[in-house]
């Protein structure tokens, strides 16, 4: 492992390459994070020494695999401070976890006339499941709106969450605006009205200390791949009593107690929600990523990202042709920065930045209702992780200036 957080980029082999002849500045971390050597090695080690299916096996490899898989569960438990390891369900990713809650808890508890409250800044993965559930159940879907500063309007939250509200589901951190939502406060409001609260941790768990007991969320979902783990693994946290009362989501191997021709009894949590062969190696490698993050310390990850934002955001805002969305104050801004350049289309901006080695994303970022609310059809988004440096920030700023110059001939 690197000596300090400032040379942590050395742990990431992919960062040491040129694209289009230029040094790679990977600033698409909100889409997916890169993987340190340790995580890659963890996968390789598993497949070269211990690969077997878990739980069902008596033989040595099966036992090793089972032990490592369950150890990963315990690591995740401690990482987000869940009360019990059986509250940690391995999923395919954040989307899978949110759909699980909507299709089980939601299906069971939402009835005609009930309300589901989300925010206008939700990612489609935390929006469409609730929207479709509301349509199906003749329930009402309500959106908490933004303040003019681009943060969540908590006054509006208090108006929207009522005694008819059964579920509140909110992104802990926005994947566009760079805001962190007051999830603990929202949980309190939701609970006062007898609703449960679901946290979408996709953009928070990788970037800041998260304590699900302190937040007092009922469910909390996130993805491994955004926190340096392999693709295809994620986590759903749920309070044990809620999980126990829910029907299973998928049916298959491992999640049963007994199966007869016409009836099945289901296993206890977490297994009830882990039907079929899981992403075993992915879960184990997620455990390795958790080890890596804990070694650095989540406070340090957060601090390092804040330093970069403090450095780059004012530079960006100083460019007269740049509009930054979300809070303008660096202290209120995570490493996710969405912006537009005059009337140049974000796709053209991203192609130009890529030519300069800078990887950013352009589009609606799976948040079309938010785009509508912001009055744009798309934005360019640069998103930083702790292994990025001021050098990456400088490269972004310089590439933006060069892009401006390149397109100056056209007035697009």
């Amino acid at each position: 492992m690197a000596n300090s957080i400032n040379d942590s980029y050395q742990d990431f082999p992919i960062l040491d390459q040129k694209v289009n002849g230029e040094r790679l500045a990977y600033l698409d971390n909100a889409a997916t994070a890169q993987k340190p050597q340790q995580v890659i090695d963890s996968l390789v080690h598993f497949y070269e020494h211990d690969n077997a299916n878990v739980h069902r096996g008596v033989h040595t490899l099966a036992e090793r695999a089972t032990e490592q898989y369950e150890a990963a569960r315990t690591k995740v438990q401690h990482f987000i401070n869940a009360k019990n390891h059986n509250e940690i369900i391995f999923t395919k990713g954040c989307t899978d976890g949110l759909n699980l809650v909507a299709a089980t808890y939601g299906e069971q508890n939402i009835h005609e006339g009930d309300e589901i409250v989300i925010t206008i800044m939700e990612h489609h993965s935390n929006l469409i499941p609730w929207q479709q559930l509301a349509i199906k159940k003749h329930a009402t879907l309500k959106y908490i709106e933004l303040t003019p500063e681009g943060t969540l309007d908590m006054e509006d939250a208090k108006r929207k969450i009522t005694d008819r509200t059964k579920i509140v589901s909110v992104a802990h951190a926005s994947n566009v605006l760079g805001t962190v939502n007051p999830l603990k406060e929202l949980a309190k409001i939701a609970h006062e009205h007898g609703a449960v609260i679901v946290g979408d941790g996709a953009q928070s768990v990788p970037h800041m200390p998260v304590d699900v007991q302190d937040l007092d969320v009922d469910f909390y979902a996130f993805s491994g791949h955004k926190m340096m783990s392999p693709t295809g693994i994620g986590v759903l946290y749920g309070k044990a009593d809620l999980l126990r009362a829910m029907p299973p989501y998928q049916y298959g191997g491992e999640m049963i107690n007994t199966v007869h021709r016409d009836e099945t009894t289901f296993a206890d949590i977490p297994f009830k929600f882990e039907a079929g062969t899981q992403n075993i190696a992915g879960a184990i490698a997620l455990g390795t990523a958790v080890d890596y993050l804990e070694e650095i310390g989540m406070e340090n990850v957060e601090k390092k990202e804040q330093e970069i934002v403090d450095y780059v955001l004012p530079k960006l805002e100083a460019l007269p042709y740049i509009t930054v969305y979300g809070p303008q104050d660096p202290a209120q801004h995570t490493g996710v920065i969405a912006f537009n350049m005059d009337n140049l289309h974000p796709h053209d901006v991203a192609t130009a930045l890529d030519a300069e080695g800078v990887a950013v994303r352009a589009g609606h970022h799976c948040a079309q209702p938010l785009m509508e609310a912001l009055g744009v059809s798309a934005t360019t988004r640069a998103s930083f992780y702790f292994y990025n440096s001021k050098k990456d920030a400088d490269q972004l700023i310089n590439a933006i200036k060069a892009t401006k110059e390149f397109f100056n001939g056209g007035t697009i």
Binding site: N20, G21, E22, L344, H345, P346, H347, D348, T351, A352, A355, E356, G357, A362, G363, H364, Q368, M371, S377, A378, A402, T403, F406, F407, G409, G410, T411, I412
Partner: protein, 151 residues
């Protein structure tokens, strides 16, 4: 390399079409319309054609999008106006074939007019969709059955 790589993409003629789009307006007597979304970026293109007999008498497009999609739509409308629907469909096929890397004869390419210049898009795989979306909308508009829903 850097931005110089882009010289082959953002050619003057492309920038000209993007800045001064041709036929960017609705067609009052349209016989067929098609709206297509590019879910990657949220962009939308609406193509409206007025077919008389077997010929495209008039064509226009509206919508928003990047330089490439706007320029491509503009070039497309210029290229097919006055052509028979069969000719236009052939051209659309040539264009979308090129976009997936299939070769076509010089003759076929010539027929595309200005639009053939957008074959430079092949170097930028992520942008191919931007260039083909208007041709795709044309194709769907011309082939649409009367009872088909607009998308």
């Amino acid at each position: 390399m850097g931005l110089s790589k882009l010289n082959g993409l953002y050619l003057d003629v492309i920038l000209d079409h993007a800045n001064n789009p041709r036929n960017k307006h609705d067609i009052p007597n349209a016989t067929s319309k098609m709206t297509i979304h590019n879910p990657t970026c949220g962009d939308t293109i609406n193509v409206a054609v007025e077919v008389e007999g077997d010929r495209i008498k008039n064509i226009g497009y509206t919508g928003s999008g990047c330089t490439i999609s706007q320029a491509s739509a503009s070039m497309m409308t210029e290229a097919v106006k006055g052509k028979t629907t069969e000719e236009a469909l052939d051209m659309a096929k040539t264009f979308s074939d090129m976009a997936i890397g299939k070769k076509h004869s010089e003759d076929d390419l010539e027929k595309l007019g200005d639009a053939q210049i957008l074959t430079s898009i092949m170097e930028f795989p992520a942008r191919i969709k931007c260039a083909t979306i208007s041709w795709w909308a044309l194709q769907r508009a011309l082939l649409k059955k009367d009872d088909e829903e607009e998308e």
